[in-house]
Symmetry: C2
Subunit: 201 residues, 2 copies
DNA sequence: GGCTTGACTACACGATTGTGTAGTAGTTTG
DNA sequence: CAAACTACTACACAATCGTGTAGTCAAGCC
């Protein structure tokens, strides 16, 4: 990975261009012709290699899924919150995550399955580490969503903190911040209980 | 709000249809004709009232912004985490949030400004309540992103917990879970410090 | 040599896109 | 009563969409 573009086969360049453009603009936001142009090939070749737009999407989903599994799977494994260690997120995975989130939002089953898998893993992890939320499943789902929110709002967060969060400095800042979100208790237990009762009313 | 559709002017019905469809499918995902059909008018009338697709988007952004301000502004005020009280989120605001997130992801300046405003408010709120993160700005930005993540991944979360989170029961569960994310410390302070040092290395 | 196969391009198709124009019905205004 | 205005529809436009077809070129196999 991170090889110069010329080293890749045309098929791989098309796939990478699709992941890049679709991740940035959403699936409807980039056409076959846009992707072909970005990959430096004709639009016909996209069809030749992948058959249809939908099939190209499936191929991207599958590729992203495999890559994520390879690279240690920032989304699915939980070495726990230590997964928030900035060093563990290289640019390659960043792009894949951004794509997967977009694909998820546009109804991809593969991407959604990855999310559900992450929830399972986090659920197990909470058990293992003796964390006892009142609703373990919902707690794990919330954690999974939170982990991805950084990717969704990367532009807004970068603007807010005045640091590009795809840069090492920026990601270190937001990673540390997330860590503290999970660490600094905002309310005393009796306050939580009070709100919980209000919610059940 | 929540009046039957016939009570609204055609202009309002178009705007509401746009917010609904664009929120669900993204901006590129719904055409002027789709919106006109959903509002029960001709596509020409959309142009008559709003001029262009881009102008309709601006109108929707502005409307959503005003409405959010009216309704107590779940995104910008921080009565703090108690804003996670399920009762405070009615369906109307839910739809606006979903739209605003989509609009933000597609580069809306109005929506991004709302996000930045929310970060400001959360920042002030942490000061007020004596919360002392190591990087207050980044901490507030993370909190803002987290608050919106529920909307982005609503389908995935619903699937994960087996409860539609737009229903009162589902939202109560995920609201409570978020509360516990902010309340149960995952790591001891010395562990945090250790990771922090690793990040700076 | 001929023959197949895979990578690749050029071009044309019908559908859909945002937009533009012309015109109708009903109300308001002078 | 006539003129003007507003809400609204029908229809046509050029561009772009995903897709389909035909054909070129080079490498490998008999």
């Amino acid at each position: 990975m991170d090889r110069p573009v010329d080293d890749l086969t045309a098929r791989a360049r098309i796939r990478d261009a699709a992941i890049g453009l679709w991740g940035e603009r959403g699936i409807e936001g980039a056409s076959i012709r846009d992707i072909a142009a970005a990959a430096g090939v004709s639009s016909g070749l996209v069809r030749h290699h992948f058959g249809s737009k939908e099939a190209l999407r499936d191929a991207c989903d599958e590729y992203a899924k495999e890559r994520m599994a390879e690279v240690g799977d920032e989304l699915s494994t939980a070495e726990g919150v230590s997964g928030l260690d900035p060093g563990s997120l290289h640019p390659r995975v960043f792009r894949l995550q951004i794509y997967l989130v977009r694909s998820m939002m546009d109804g991809s089953e593969t991407a959604t399955a990855l999310f559900l898998g992450a929830v399972d893993t986090i659920e197990q992890w909470t058990t293992q580490y003796g964390i006892e939320p009142s609703d373990r499943r919902a707690y794990a789902a919330a954690m999974a969503a939170i982990k991805l929110s950084t990717f969704v709002f990367r532009d807004q967060i970068s603007k807010a903190i005045g640091d590009d969060i795809t840069s090492p400095e920026g990601y270190a800042r937001i990673g540390q911040a997330l860590l503290e979100v999970f660490t600094i208790p905002l309310l005393a237990p009796d306050q939580v209980e009070e709100i919980r009762k209000k919610g059940k009313r």
